[in-house]
């Protein structure tokens, strides 16, 4: 009995290894770039981190399926490299010999992608699930595009400026016309100018009779 149990126990890891195959039908490759993401604060990838990964994945499966039977042991990891990259599969908690199909795993990961990333302080780019495209964040669209707001502000200032300048110019022109009229009247009263020569200087001068322009005698031909 004991021997059978021991045999079964020793077969389990071997069986587990057989289930997790690189390029397997239901297997996913994971690639982490910890040093790229965290630089000096990068942590070492060891067994405990691996444990966290399997736990997080189990959590993702639980969340997606609603079954609380998934455990750390359901997630099997193989082919680890110093890159840090590895393959993993998820076994069915009810039947450890079968694997959860690829689509289900993908959906589960997509649903909890943010939580998985945060557990490792990584992002979609630095914690890559090969074959699962990163969820593209749709750009935030404010209700009114920002550029129209800036345009509105600029146009408002410009229109106000134009109107102000036109009105000021109009008022200035009216004022100038009034002062010219006032000045003209005053001038008329003070000095009468004709051709730049004040009429006062012409007083007393009778002018010169220009014989060339006196037509009176030559109007009628002399008989």
């Amino acid at each position: 009995m004991l021997a059978r149990v021991l045999l079964a126990l020793s077969l389990v890891p071997a069986l587990a290894q057989a289930l997790c195959q690189p390029d397997g039908q239901d297997a996913y490759k994971v690639r982490l770039s910890i040093k790229t993401a965290l630089g000096a604060n990068a942590y070492e990838w060891n067994e405990s981190e691996q444990f966290l990964f399997r736990a997080t994945l189990a959590f993702a499966m639980r969340k997606y399926t609603g079954q609380e039977t998934f455990n750390v042991s359901s997630v099997i990891v193989c082919d680890e490299t110093p890159r840090v990259s590895f393959w993993f599969v998820v076994t069915n908690p009810n039947d450890t010999a079968t694997l959860i199909p690829k689509n289900a795993v993908e959906e589960a990961i997509r649903l909890s992608r943010n939580r998985i990333n945060s557990a490792f302080l990584l992002s979609d780019k630095t914690l890559q699930f090969l074959g699962i495209p990163p969820t593209l964040a749709p750009p935030s669209q404010p209700s009114l595009p920002v550029w129209l707001i800036v345009f509105g502000v600029v146009m408002g200032i410009v229109t106000t400026g134009i109107l102000a300048l036109i009105i000021i110019g109009f008022i200035q022109r009216k004022k100038k016309e009034k002062t010219i009229e006032d000045e003209d009247e005053e001038e008329k009263q003070e000095r009468i100018m004709e051709n730049g020569i004040s009429c006062e200087t012409l007083e007393g001068k009778d002018g010169v009779n220009n014989g060339a322009y006196s037509h009176d005698e030559d109007r009628l031909t002399q008989l």
Partner: protein, 621 residues
């Protein structure tokens, strides 16, 4: 012909209260306006490109020679003749000889046509300015496609910056015959550009003089800020070394000298009539010789000064692209060979590659690693709108605090272009005012508004889908050949028809000093000679170049490369028309006046007795 020569050139008297000629508030306004007119977008995006293409520091030699022997003499001539005759371009040439009125009309037409497309470029700058207040900048990322599974194909194949320019800004059509619709966003940007221009131009030099305190000085402030910032960026020194390393053997190519001469000529904004208009508002006793030298030197110094931050930033961009290229390769190698993260760095990349090539050469080949060469990235130069809206915007997104730099850059471009627009518009306004085509009851504000409105309506062509292609046509055909012809006629008429002796006397009266040998030599022989050579060489080069344009066609096989298409026949006819219409007025007006003169002579020869005046025949009783 002799009668015309002896007629006194009519100079409007000072002190006429009815229509006093407007004048500058002070000398600084006048100088800043002239500098602002000369210093434009070309100083920032054409000169650095030429410098880089034509052997870096070595290009300065033909450039400075062209400035001394062509630029400054022509500039002095325009400022002096405007100041002496106190009229706009049409009035000035009419005064020198009625047969030359066509030169002024040519200037007017060129100013109008150039103003149309120049302000459209400012509308584009405004569009980018409006979009610089977002985080992240809209040209950083590609927009998602309809089902949100990936990026839009056109953007994914080219770059987000290209996509934003060609699709979201211009919405360009694949070829020039496909007009597309008026893009509403471009129309409102164009309206705001013309609105801003109008508010500065509303009362002619009265308002321009005030506006120019800001628009002419602000670019220098921004250039200095950019200079300080750019020099601290990684890769800046590579860019500067690349720009200024002189390659003296380039000087053997005549094309370099041709481009230096044309660049000086177009950079100083000669032959637009704007400089004549500005100097016509000066008091007559003003040292125009010193003004010309100041404006010419500052214009060239600005070009050189602007190229430093531009190239520092381009060097930074090239280094960033090179590093991205390297990083891409490093990631490929790290992933393929499962090497530890960050074990392959930029520094040891070469040794890793060498090692892996010896051991796993087949796999390395399968990776299709990109060939990363810093020189290649530095060679990706651009000029014109490509520099500002594609290359520079890409550099800005890599700089920390991108929004600030983008806003500063586009405001600088806008004020550079705005001060140049003032010159274009004054080149239209002043001659029309001097010709008294404006009815007395129409206030100046309304007339300037009318000019802006008409220009805006015409410029709507450039807001269509094919607008960018039409703008290139206007830029190449209007803003080039007609100016050379007009400038040539200007200097010939001043030197040989007005008379260099008389001109020298005028300058002596205005400045107190007779023009020395340098001016005499350049005005009489060297500058007209250089203009003629440049003009002929320009024609030869243009004729040899096929009439093609670069079209952005997403369905092109080699997309994202631009497709080279020929201009259709009718478009090419329009190009020829644009080049020739401004110039055709020179002979037309000359012939018209000649016919008038002939008819007057015929009428006079029929009068035997000049003293007999039939109007006064006494009536016989």
């Amino acid at each position: 012909m002799a009668e015309e020569k002896n007629t006194e050139v009519s100079v409007p008297e000072l002190g006429k209260t009815a229509e006093e000629r407007p004048k500058w508030d002070n000398k600084v306004q006048y100088l800043l306006t002239c500098i602002g007119f000369a210093v434009g977008l070309g100083n920032v995006w054409r000169f650095p490109y030429l410098c880089q293409t034509y052997g870096g520091g070595a290009f300065l030699i033909p450039y400075i020679i062209a400035l001394i022997f062509e630029g400054i003499p022509l500039l002095h001539m325009e400022l002096a003749i405007g100041q002496r005759l106190r009229q706009g371009s049409i009035g000035v040439w009419n005064s020198i000889s009625p047969f030359l009125g066509g030169v002024g009309i040519g200037s007017l037409i060129v100013s109008f046509l150039v103003g149309l497309f120049y302000n459209t470029i400012l509308a584009w700058v405004l569009w980018y300015f409006f979009h610089s207040f977002q985080d992240p900048l809209p040209w950083r990322d590609c927009p998602l496609n309809q089902n949100k599974t990936g990026y839009i194909e056109e953007c994914a194949k080219s770059t987000p910056v290209n996509y934003f320019w060609y699709r979201e800004t211009l919405n360009v059509t694949p070829n020039i015959t496909d007009n597309g619709d008026l893009q509403w966003w471009m129309v409102i940007c164009l309206a705001s550009a013309w609105g801003i221009v109008y508010i500065c131009f509303i009362r002619g030099i009265e308002t321009i003089g005030k506006a120019v305190y800001v628009t002419a000085t602000f670019p220098y402030l921004v250039l200095t800020i950019f200079l300080i910032r750019a020099l601290t960026l990684p890769g800046a020194t590579e860019g500067l070394v690349y720009l200024f390393t002189p390659k003296v053997q380039v000087l053997k190519d005549p094309k370099v000298w041709l481009d230096a001469a044309t660049q000086i000529f177009f950079s100083l904004s000669l032959a637009f009539g704007g400089l004549i208009a500005f100097s016509s508002y000066n008091p007559q006793k003003n040292n125009c010789e010193r003004d010309a030298v100041i404006v010419g030197v500052i214009n060239s110094a600005t070009s050189i000064y602007a190229s430093i931050p531009i190239f520092a930033i381009l060097g930074f961009k090239a280094t960033s692209n090179y590093n991205d290229c390297l990083d891409g390769n490093i990631l490929s190698i790290t992933n393929a060979f499962n090497i530890g993260d960050q074990n392959v760095t930029r520094e040891n990349y070469d040794s890793w590659l060498k090692h892996l090539n010896t051991t796993h050469s087949q796999e390395i080949e399968d990776l299709h690693l990109k060939h990363c060469n810093l020189q290649e990235f530095l060679d990706q130069s651009a000029s014109g709108t490509g520099l500002a809206f594609i290359v520079f915007t890409e550099a800005v997104i890599k700089m920390p605090g991108s929004q600030v730099w983008a806003v500063l850059f586009f405001v600088m471009l806008f004020s550079l272009g705005l001060s140049s627009m003032f010159g274009n518009l004054e080149g239209i306004l002043t001659p029309l005012l001097d010709l008294h085509v404006v009815p007395k009851w129409l206030p100046k504000e309304a007339f300037t508004g009318l000019i802006c409105l008409i220009s805006f309506l015409f410029a709507l062509i450039f807001t269509m889908g094919s607008g960018n292609y039409w703008l290139e046509i206007f830029n190449n055909y209007v803003g080039s050949l007609p100016l050379l012809i007009i400038a040539f006629f200007e200097i010939i008429s001043v030197v040989y028809i007005y008379g260099i002796g008389r001109f020298s006397d005028d300058i002596e009266w205005m400045t107190g000093r007779r023009p020395n040998l340098y001016w005499q030599a350049t005005w009489r022989v060297i500058s007209p000679g250089m203009l003629l050579v440049v003009f002929l060489a320009y024609i030869v080069v243009q004729v040899q170049q096929p009439a093609t344009y670069a079209a952005w066609n997403p369905n092109y096989i080699n997309f994202p490369m631009t497709e080279t298409l020929d201009y259709p026949g009718w478009v090419f006819a329009i190009c020829i028309l644009l080049s020739s219409v401004p110039c055709i007025f020179i002979p037309i007006v000359a012939i018209y006046r000649f016919i008038q003169w002939i008819m007057r002579r015929v009428r006079q020869s029929q009068n035997r007795n000049p003293c007999e005046n039939h109007a006064y025949e006494p009536e016989l009783q």
